[in-house]
């Protein structure tokens, strides 16, 4: 597998570390135990196109959102995490 890092260009799999599904959002501080349980433990485990967190730890140390098909490993999109680089959210 090769991932096109939006900053570094196309790089081989070994430079990246996988975390998992990028869909679940960390609940607000007051969301309660069930919401956090859902966030931490439950997965759609999609057979098909999925948005995922990958870390370019062997390169520019950016967290990426990779759109990848889990049936074919085909990657259709890569974008940086909201806070990559100096990006200012909402700025």
């Amino acid at each position: 597998m090769r991932i096109i890092c939006p900053f570094c260009g196309e790089r081989e799999l070994g430079e990246f570390t996988y975390l998992g599904d990028a869909k679940p959002q960390r609940p607000a501080a007051d969301a309660g135990e069930d919401a956090v349980y859902d966030y931490v433990y439950l997965r759609d485990n999609i057979a098909g196109v999925m948005s995922e967190h990958w870390y370019h730890g062997g390169g520019c140390r950016t967290w990426l959102k990779v759109t990848r098909n889990t049936l074919t490993h085909e990657i259709s999109a890569v974008e940086p995490a909201a806070g990559a680089g100096a990006a200012k959210v909402g700025a």
Partner: protein, 207 residues
């Protein structure tokens, strides 16, 4: 009162044996360690990439790289190291972290990396062939031209690689490697280069 000497020692001080190594005959690979440099990581603060760029422009008279490039100025090199960040490599104390701090105050965070890396210059007819054993990126001259830079990995170890100006018509690759990995990676480089024959040296001058 004890008499101290604060002798500096490069992380490759023991491993590097100047001379030739590997196959006899004309060396295909030349390795030169550059010692005792200043290296500062400059990282823009949130939403301050523009201000950081202006500050860099003002200081160095040239824009800092915003894509994977290395930019040479008279007494330093700015090397892209990630989005909205770059390294300033210099000699002679002109661009130490202390010197740069006022330049980037409010726009970027600085971190001293001067001692965190070893710097190796790699050249020779077989430099690319040797690097292909260590690096997964494409170093073809059309793809990785003079001034190209990459934050990448070799032997599962993070490195910064960039192509400096050609020397005697041959490409020169510069490699910054983490100091505590340096000796190990050095041996791997030697093993990779042995079949081509290697000339080894070290220098106090930036290439």
């Amino acid at each position: 009162m004890a008499d101290f000497s604060w002798e500096v020692r490069s992380p490759l001080d023991r491993a590097l044996v100047a001379g030739s190594y590997g196959a006899q005959g004309d060396a295909g690979v030349s390795l030169t360690e550059i010692r005792n440099f200043d290296l500062v990581q400059v990282m823009a603060r949130r939403g301050k990439a523009g201000e950081m760029a202006k500050a860099a422009q003002a200081r160095f008279g040239i824009a800092a790289p915003e894509t994977p490039k290395a930019v040479d100025i008279a007494d330093a090199t700015m090397i892209w190291s990630g989005p909205d960040q770059f390294l300033v490599l210099s000699k002679g104390g002109k661009h130490t972290i202390e010197a740069l701090a006022p330049v980037f105050v409010g726009s970027a965070s600085l971190s001293d990396q001067s001692h965190a890396r070893a710097l190796i210059g790699i050249s020779g007819e077989k430099a690319r062939a040797m690097l292909a054993k260590l690096s997964s990126i494409d170093l073809h001259p059309d793809v990785f031209g003079v001034g190209a830079a990459a934050a990448t990995s070799m032997d599962h170890t993070s490195v910064t690689l960039w192509r400096g100006g050609d020397h005697d018509g041959q490409a020169v690759f510069n490699l910054l490697v983490f100091a505590t990995f340096a000796e190990s990676l050095w041996h791997t480089i030697l093993d990779s280069a042995a079949e081509y024959g290697v000339t080894i040296g070290h220098s106090e001058e930036l290439a």
